[in-house]
């Protein structure tokens, strides 16, 4: 089995990229692959705790559940700072990290990289 990294650059409420990211992650896990998610730009909203959308997918809840199943989700620290998301505000099981340490590791460990962006 392989390792898939999904880089997300769209915010949780911007478009359908979050749905695609979650569905791809769940399908890859069902096939037995390891999945990493790196959140960049508006994508860092994936890891913000306390999301409460009324009619849309609750990405935060999904990230927390996927983390419990082994999915590693990391958000770019600089992007978080720019949006006022502080350490300690991230969804349980996710992490605020960096491109240098985390995304580079994801890429080096992955067989495939998919970027979801607009």
């Amino acid at each position: 089995m392989g390792t898939l990294t999904i880089q997300v650059r769209s915010g949780t409420m911007m478009n359908m990229d979050p749905n695609v990211a979650i569905k791809l992650t769940e399908a890859a896990m069902e096939r037995g692959h390891k999945v990493n998610i790196f959140c960049y730009g508006e994508g860092v909203t994936f890891v913000k705790a306390g999301q409460n959308p009324k009619r849309f997918l609750n990405v935060g809840e999904k990230i927390e559940k996927l983390a419990s199943l082994g999915v590693e989700t990391v958000a770019c620290e600089t992007c978080c700072q720019a949006r006022g998301i502080q350490r300690g505000e991230e969804v349980k099981g996710s992490k605020i990290g960096s491109i240098t340490n985390d995304f580079s590791r994801f890429v080096s460990e992955s067989d495939r990289l998919i970027t979801l962006s607009r």
């Binding site: 392989g2 359908m16 569905k23 791809l24 890859a28 692959h33 495939r112």
Partner: protein, 80 residues
């Protein structure tokens, strides 16, 4: 850009609004002329009211099949 790809086998998976390429004949033919395979996510067709409307030559797939294509059947991926 897709037309510049070189490999033993080139394909595209159409996600989200890109599924419309499979519905409109002119766009679909453009893709089929330069790719070996064109795959279309069924959920995304249905979400836009085009379930069953993907044109001839395209292959309608689910997310599990998409993962198999990305992870097992093609050597490299790019995202546009």
């Amino acid at each position: 850009m897709i037309g510049t790809l070189r490999g033993d086998r080139s394909g595209a998976i159409l996600f989200e609004d890109a599924v419309l390429f499979s519905v409109y004949d002119e766009r679909r033919k453009e893709l089929l002329d330069i790719l070996d395979d064109v795959f279309v996510i069924d959920d995304d067709l249905e979400a836009r009211g085009f379930k069953g409307r993907a044109g001839e030559g395209t292959q309608v797939i689910d997310y599990l099949r998409a993962v198999d294509l990305v992870m097992e059947e093609y050597d490299q991926t790019i995202t546009l």
